[in-house]
Symmetry: C2
Subunit: 239 residues, 2 copies
Amino acid sequence: MATGPVSPRAPQALDGEGQGRQPTAAGQAHARLKAMILDNLLPPGAQLLEGELALRLGLSRTPVREAMVRLEQEGLVAITPRHGMRVLPIAAADMREIYEVLTSLEPMAAELLARRPEPAAGLGRLEQACGAMEQALAAQDRPAWAEADEAFHLGLAELCGNRRLAGMVMQVWEQSHRARLFTLHQRPLPARSTAEHRRVLEAIAAGEPERAHALYRRHRRRSGAELISLIERSGVAWL
Amino acid sequence: MATGPVSPRAPQALDGEGQGRQPTAAGQAHARLKAMILDNLLPPGAQLLEGELALRLGLSRTPVREAMVRLEQEGLVAITPRHGMRVLPIAAADMREIYEVLTSLEPMAAELLARRPEPAAGLGRLEQACGAMEQALAAQDRPAWAEADEAFHLGLAELCGNRRLAGMVMQVWEQSHRARLFTLHQRPLPARSTAEHRRVLEAIAAGEPERAHALYRRHRRRSGAELISLIERSGVAWL
DNA sequence: GAATTCGTTTGCGTATGCATTGTTGGCAGT
DNA sequence: ACTGCCAACAATGCATACGCAAACGAATTC
């Protein structure tokens, strides 16, 4: 069920706006620019002027400017006074930061989920994602695996009941989107990660918060270290 | 050394802009509005229109609007289409979320700090904060204690070397600023918290990441639970 | 030949006007 | 008296205009 060769899923689903769509020009500009950045249509390092973007999006500078401010606060671009906005590249150091944050937050999400009164309820989404990962692994379909991986991680963050935590996970997830795409075709087939996801899910369903926390933490530490050394060894300074 | 009865410190120091500030009107509007919110000059629930704020700040609507967007993304206000911005109240549920996030992130910061090559170096700021806390505790000076507590936590986040983690800690710290101020005069003197901070600092200086992590986590879990039950028992629905 | 200075251009920060949309209050009908 | 509809108003989202400041280039001088 891989959607495409490069873009594993519609990036719109990444933002926190859910379903409540507003046709406001600023919101559209924000969504479109974010999608362009995540899809690598605006490559990292690209410098884009307000007026240029306004022309490209068929809007005036005002809503574009508001979108730029939002993107800057999301950590996707930097606004420098006379040079417009610059799409921020992701270096190995950034990936280290991001994985440290995820290593903190995601085990907490798993723990919270396992601590609910009915831990096994409402995990259908994660079950499905886990199954899709295993299936994609068997089929050696990396894009499909990445899509399922994303569904698992974002689903976990959203289900844990802590909106702030979910927002933070989504934010760094988006920031690292391009880097994950880059490493996707370089790393060995993620058999181990797939199995670890399954075991975390089992611990959650069994209502064992401490075990879910510990398992997830170990998974994140290992996979993060793996990914970072992969980026460092690949020799690219940034993505 | 308490600065004032209610506002323990200048809220400007809370934002992540450091020193390099430009006198742009939008930036000033953002800083001033944030300060007003954190100082409770704009009480939670307050509805403020663009034009009204522009008049109050002596600016036009455009920079005020940009400031509002930034504040919304920082989780301090909500913008509702025809009612201007509303200062978000903090409920017990929000404090639970915030303390869960801090329980994840801050132990990681301590761990990272303890993992550096020279763990004991550069801790002067934390030493100082810890000393100020002990001194304030002995003098039963709660505002001074709160100020030192803030210096310790934000100092730790900034020193850990992970800018994203530091930004997230600061963000939820700002969100919970008013609630902490509210509980400050209700809770018993934080003797236990003071001692726990000292022990965390010792573990960091000794270069024991795992112990620093565990100690900090336990501290956060306990003090968070204490604070939340205090808010819940106080009967106020929101702050 | 190189450096410095001045002028021009371009991008941006801010202000303001306009059109759209939502809300509220009043009036009428039941 | 209550409810529903309509109209007027107000706030906002967006476009555009204006002035300033910085950067680039060219020319002149040392």
